[in-house]
Amino acid sequence: MRCEQYFEILPLYVSGDLTGNERAGLEQHLSECARCRAELDKLSEVARVLAPSDDDTLSEVEKLRLENDILRRLVCEGKTESVPRRSSVTSLIVRIAVAAAIFIVGFSVRPLLPVNNQTQPVTRATLTDLAEHGSDFTAGMRFSKQGFRLIARGKSGLIN
């Protein structure tokens, strides 16, 4: 193979996407060819800059908060039609009733939630998923200013 052909696979060597044979052949060539080694250095620099830095990851706290927000939205937005987001006395009562139903029915007999809109299955799936975590996982609803919040506790810690 000529150097130009090795050039084509050098980026994949850097990204770890060559097969064993390709890699062996390339490494053999690299040991004999300064031109390809120089090319490898430049491509490695590109890969180094593309690789994640500390800045690109969430802190533990940010991660927990973000995951909690996602779960809360999955639970709450799943019942936006039956439970209006704007608080009124009526909706408050409905919310309490729905939450009680989810909590009592959802975790004992398997969810038998009121079925009245197309997003309902999501709520059910989420809560079933939580429930099926079994002894590693306990979940419940807590009322707060934003509405009901899903509280989930797993081996990995507090998700709420």
Partner: protein
């Protein structure tokens, strides 16, 4: 295969954030996009049956959402004529990063934005989202060989643009 939504979120949240953050270059915006993507995809999916399919799909959706947000931001900034070229292209916001690194990085990100669509996508999914070639092929609906070609050409292009950029500044 049945999969637990909580587990999928837990396993993927950092990768989705890392991917979106490196495209929009704004932590809060990246968090918002991460949230929206999970909620939207998981609501649509209803119940997760196949982790091998849902995970690449979530990451691909995050890439699209981040790219759209980036374009919107660029347009707004261009309109507002804030400019100074590098301001408009979003710099790493943390002050603790080594200056030289940060400069190389922002130059590379600028070069990345100018790559051909598929090269940019393949590189972002491989390096930012840390997806495998197989996952990327599935998400982009192309062959693994094509993914490798896009990655290879994309990296060579970035290398050349980086070199051209530093030569210009000297």
């Amino acid at each position: 295969m049945r999969e637990n939504m909580v587990a999928v979120i837990h396993r993927l949240s950092n990768r989705v954030f890392g991917l979106t953050y490196r495209i929009v270059r704004d932590r809060e915006q990246a968090k918002d996009i991460t949230q929206d993507v999970f909620v939207k995809v998981l609501q649509e999916a209803g119940r997760i049956r196949d982790r091998d399919r849902i995970e690449p799909y979530i990451l691909k959706s995050a890439y699209n959402a981040a790219l759209n947000a980036r374009h919107d931001t660029s347009r707004q900034q261009a309109k507002a004529e804030l400019i100074g070229e590098h301001l408009s292209l979003g710099e790493p916001s943390r002050p603790d990063q080594h200056l030289e690194n940060a400069e190389t990085r922002s130059r590379l990100y600028r070069a990345l934005e100018q790559l051909a669509v598929r090269q940019k996508e393949a590189l972002a999914l491989r390096f930012f989202a840390e997806m495998s070639v197989t996952e990327i092929a599935r998400a982009m609906k192309i062959s693994e060989g094509s993914v490798k070609t896009h990655i290879s050409r994309g990296m060579h292009n970035l290398k050349e643009r980086l070199a051209a950029g530093s030569a210009k500044e000297i």
